[in-house]
């Protein structure tokens, strides 16, 4: 009866297979590495990511390819997001090297292996075309992240953050699964594109479907960290070791964007009217509460956590405005603006946390806002880099954050949601206050600490390049923008 089964093509999944293989190899090699710096493990990890990037580039083509009985999809959007994930993870690992070196309690070898396995989870999520694989990818990523948050075993606050993250994450997974099972009940298929087709062709039980969508959106909102499902974000950002905060703040956002696109746009686009309303509420609340509460923070990690909430809310605006009243003319524009937004946010946040980690030393976390006082006197160069990051996040013109916000707002206006655009601009203005406060602290206050900033030259160059990229992409945003648009055009048919 299974004689008609054709062995799936492994070719599109080559990066994932290579990554899994290398993660297992590194796990074994690390047993033999005696040096406390774990240079071999670190180099192998970076080479693995580089190898994955090469394989992704080599195997990428403009067609949409399905394999593993339609459970795995390889399209341009997946390829582009995967390449960005490799880049974000590589940068995050470079930045965290010295940080975890200074903290004895963190097991070094496992840190890199868990980071690789989390990356694998993100790749699986990005390429998922089936509820099962999407869920398993999500769990793979989340489990690795829970463990990474708790890796600093001597810190009670890290353990607490990991517990909160774990329990809320498990709850969110439950919500997501429940929603998926409802949609399965309504459509009779677990395959995302198949769900989309059945919803298009057949009439299905509407109320079961909406019931499922509510749970699905709630689960996605948890994972994105938007209001009112944002409770875990500040605690996890604050409690986790800064290197892990950087990891969580960057690459997983790209994967989260991918699953939102797969579930809501590829699968449930016919129900857009149902989920758009929910997303608008989530988005406005996130921009409001995220920006307002960030003002009250004294810890820069917490402040950036609330800023992340507001940015994710802003990004959702792009998803909301894709289809308005069955009119999909602006869909490509809207989705690519959301993608551009999330990509630039990841780039900026990498630079921001990279700079925070440059200021830390053994036994000193430079995560209070006061630690940034007078940074200009200690190092004018890195103060300028931090200023670039803050101005970009605030959306000041000619930094990349401005163009990200601009293109999303353009999509919102094109869709006719004028009040939404006004609200977004107003909340961004509120947000500019606390970003500019950091700039003020750096330039106009007296430093508390006088020590110059130390660190390996390579990392300094890398952080500077990252900061300059935030500025340069602001001057030439066209390339990245058209790349996002092209990838989405080839993927959404």
């Amino acid at each position: 009866m299974f004689n008609d089964f054709v062995a799936p093509s492994l070719y599109p999944a080559a990066p994932e297979i290579f990554l899994l293989f290398m993660a297992c190899v590194i796990l074994l090699v690390d047993l033999g590495v005696k040096s406390p710096r774990r240079t071999l493990t670190f180099v192998l990890t970076q080479l693995t990511l580089l190898g994955c990037a090469a394989i992704t580039l080599l195997t990428s083509n403009t067609e949409v390819v399905y394999t593993f009985s339609g459970m795995f999809v390889d399209d341009m959007m997946a390829d582009l997001l995967k390449l960005l994930v490799y880049g974000a993870v590589m940068l995050a690992l470079f930045y965290s090297r010295e940080y975890i070196q200074d903290r004895q309690a963190i097991p070094k070898g496992e840190y890199f292996v868990l980071a690789l396995l989390a990356t694998l989870g993100m790749l699986v999520m990005i390429s998922a075309n089936h509820f099962l694989t999407l869920y398993l990818g999500l769990e793979m990523m989340s489990l690795s992240l829970y463990a990474m948050v708790a890796l600093n075993r001597e810190s009670a606050i890290s353990t607490e953050a990991a517990m909160k993250y774990f329990i809320l994450g498990a709850l969110a997974s439950g919500l997501l699964l429940y929603g998926m099972s409802m949609i399965y009940g309504a459509t009779g298929s677990l395959e995302i594109t198949e769900v989309g087709e059945r919803l298009y062709t057949y009439s299905v039980d509407k109320s079961v479907l909406v019931f499922g969508i509510v749970f699905l959106v709630a689960g996605l909102a948890f994972k994105l960290g938007v209001v009112p499902f944002h409770m875990w974000v500040p605690d996890v950002y604050h409690g986790a070791p800064t290197s892990v905060t950087l990891f969580i703040a960057a690459a997983p956002k790209l994967a989260a964007f991918a699953i939102v696109m797969r579930l809501l746009v590829s699968g449930l686009i016919t129900q857009a009217a149902d989920w758009q309303g929910m997303l608008i509420v989530l988005s406005v609340l996130s921009m409001g509460i995220g920006n307002l509460v960030a003002i009250a923070q004294t810890n820069i990690k917490r402040m950036l956590a609330y800023s992340a909430i507001s940015h994710m809310g802003f990004m959702l605006l792009g998803i909301v405005t894709g289809v308005v009243g069955g009119d999909a003319r602006f869909a490509l524009n809207a989705y690519s603006s959301a993608m551009f937004y999330v990509v630039t946010y990841v780039l900026t946040t990498l630079a921001g946390f990279g700079l925070i980690m440059m200021l830390t030393r053994a036994g000193f976390e430079s995560d209070e806002l006061d630690d940034f006082k007078g940074l200009n006197k200690r190092s004018p160069w890195f103060a300028a880099m931090m200023m670039f990051v803050m101005l970009s996040m605030a959306g000041i013109p000619f930094f990349v954050g401005f163009f990200a916000k601009f293109s999303v707002l353009q999509a919102v206006v094109a869709a006719g949601y004028y009040w939404l655009a006004v609200a977004a601009v107003l909340f961004s203005l509120v947000g500019a206050f606390y970003y500019l406060r950091v700039v003020k602290l750096m330039y106009f206050d007296e430093p508390k600490i006088q020590e110059p900033i130390e660190g390996p030259l390579f990392i300094k160059v890398l952080v500077s390049a990252n900061g300059l990229a935030v500025a340069a992409l602001g001057l030439f945003p066209q390339f990245l923008m058209s790349l996002c648009a092209y990838a989405l055009m080839r993927s959404l048919t």
């Binding site: 009866m1 299974f2 089964f5 799936p8 999944a13 899994l20 297992c24 796990l27 593993f68 009985s69 459970m71 795995f72 097991p107 496992e110 840190y111 292996v113 868990l114 396995l117 694998l120 989870g121 699986v124 089936h130 099962l132 694989t133 398993l136 990818g137 769990e139 793979m140 489990l143 690795s144 829970y146 463990a147 708790a150 890796l151 075993r153 039980d205 509407k206 109320s207 079961v208 019931f211």
Partner: protein, 200 residues
């Protein structure tokens, strides 16, 4: 009511009773034992659906492995029940109101005609069809990708558990016989020259 339906209701009654006891039992060991009963009974329900393999797996994996482990943990933990139950009566009225509200809301949604279970028949299965074989074939053909992914998730769990709990090998103090034989008197005794001290 035919025989199958009688068995179904019999098992269901036991299942509901066991489930209720799991959350109401004062003694955690009793709760775990009732959970075992619940699992066993639901395995019986699965047998009625002709899912023999799944029923056996439920018994072997859940009851045989997971629940026994659970029982060990519960017996080893010294749970102070009085502390857990503190404030129970204080919170009961509010909790009850919220619980009833949730139940009413769910009833309003689920009781509407859309959520009725369709009167469907379990698809007929050929008498000699093997559950195990079908599942095995599906897992290694169509579902091979999620199957592998589930294995990787387990790997992540193992790595994470070891990374979080393993604190390096214990330095045991054992004697190396070879080193003991090679030892010379000079290694053991250190002769220190000191000036003679005056006796008081």
């Amino acid at each position: 009511m035919d025989f199958k339906t009688t068995v179904f209701f019999f098992l269901s009654a036991i299942l509901i009773f066991a489930g209720l006891r799991v959350i109401t039992a004062r003694n955690p060991v009793h709760a775990v034992l009732h959970l075992i009963l619940a699992f066993f009974t639901s395995a019986g329900l699965w047998l009625l659906l002709q899912a023999e393999f799944l029923a056996m797996v439920l018994v072997m994996v859940y009851i045989g492995a997971v629940m026994v482990l659970f029982l060990f943990v519960v017996m080893m933990l010294d749970i102070n029940l009085d502390q857990l139950r503190q404030g129970f009566w204080k919170y009961l009225p509010l909790g009850a109101v919220i619980g009833i509200l949730i139940a009413i809301e769910m009833g309003m949604v689920l009781g509407s005609r859309y959520f009725q279970v369709l009167d469907s028949e379990v698809p007929g299965v050929a008498a000699n069809a093997s559950n195990t074989r079908e599942l095995g074939a599906l897992l290694s053909t169509d579902y091979v990708y999620p199957f592998e992914l589930a294995a990787v998730v387990l790997l992540v769990a193992i790595v994470a558990a070891v990374a979080l709990t393993f604190r390096g090998p214990k330095k045991t103090r054992y004697t190396d016989p070879a080193a003991q034989i090679r030892v010379k008197a000079a290694d053991r005794v250190r002769v220190v020259k000191m000036p003679v001290e005056k006796q008081d």
